[in-house]
């Protein structure tokens, strides 16, 4: 089992999804609302690193189980988990001095999808790699 492949995949995916997220966050900040006290470059990087390491770990377990044949099933599980996590964004309670909390899911929900998009985007580059 080449764990380095999964680690590099997770790190590369973290970087590209962070870049996309920071661009989206800056536009949201400028045009819609400022939630920079909650969502900023540090929190985005930390959450994305955790999510991508989790995705890599899931693929690693899948490949240990059934090799690359496991990928479609791992994809389905990760997609379901990511979709379910979206609903938690509607339950988040922000500090009371932050106005317009109803606009928070508009930022947080798309951001939650970026790591999986980044991970899937890079997946073909790492397929078959030993």
């Amino acid at each position: 089992m080449n764990w380095k492949k999964f680690l590099i995949h997770a790190l590369c995916s973290t970087i590209i999804s962070c870049v996309a997220a920071l661009i989206f966050n800056s536009f949201y900040h400028a045009w819609v609302a400022d939630f920079s006290r909650i969502i900023n470059s540090v929190s985005i990087f930390a959450v994305y690193l955790f999510m991508n390491l989790f995705y890599s770990f899931a693929y690693m377990i899948g490949e240990m189980w059934k090799g690359e044949k496991s990928h479609p099933w791992v994809n389905v599980v990760l997609a379901i988990l990511t979709f379910a996590s979206i609903f938690f964004m509607f339950l988040v309670r922000l500090p009371l001095d932050i106005p317009n909390p109803e606009l928070f899911p508009g930022l947080a929900v798309p951001l939650l999808l970026f790591p999986l998009i980044g991970f899937y985007t890079l997946l073909p580059f790492f397929k078959g790699m030993k």
Partner: protein
């Protein structure tokens, strides 16, 4: 000519002192730094959108008159879904009752500060309440601070969450801090 100047100067001094006396009774909310917070079991939040008329004389509190109006649409619980539900018909019913009002009928001095007795109106239902408050002075900064509790069910604010039918607690604490000038 000299006598005219003296009379004019006297009149100016008189008008300045009259203004100072009036200003110490009539207060206006200083800026947006005021806080109107509420808290109860599983509920916290605040309101903005305060409009207040404050006539308060420390020397003669019985001559004072306090009134305030809060725009219910400005409620913030920190969660967008809860904000929307707080405005629903079973909760604060913003559609039919957009403001919360208080008008004092008597202001008294107490051992620890003052208290204002008056009508609190929520959802168009009025009850007499007593709000204990203090007047805190730090340099030139003056702040009215008060704390009281209400039973929201007395005002037919029955549900926290109209859809899930979660009951409102029997007691909501309200903390008010209003800087004035």
């Amino acid at each position: 000519m000299k006598r005219t100047k003296i009379i004019f100067g006297f009149l100016v001094l008189l008008s300045i002192s009259a203004y100072a006396a009036v200003h110490s009774i009539y207060w206006t909310v200083k800026d947006d730094t005021y806080e109107i917070k509420f808290s109860g079991k599983k509920i916290t939040g605040n309101f903005k959108g305060l409009k207040a008329n404050i006539i308060f004389d420390e020397a003669h509190p019985e001559k004072s008159k306090l009134s305030g109006m809060i725009d219910v649409n400005t409620i913030n619980t920190g969660n967008g879904v809860m904000n929307k539900e707080a405005k629903d018909e079973d909760a604060l019913d913003v559609k039919n009752n957009g403001t919360i009002n208080f008008v004092s009928s008597a202001v008294r001095k107490t051992g620890t500060g003052y208290e204002a007795e008056g009508e609190l109106t929520i959802k168009g239902i009025s009850h007499t309440i007593v709000i204990p408050f203090t007047l805190e002075k730090t340099g030139e900064d003056v702040t009215f601070k008060g704390h009281f509790s209400i039973n929201p069910k007395e005002y037919h604010v029955d549900k926290v969450n109209a859809k899930q039918r979660r009951d409102m607690p029997d007691k909501i604490n309200v903390d008010i801090s209003v800087p004035v000038k």
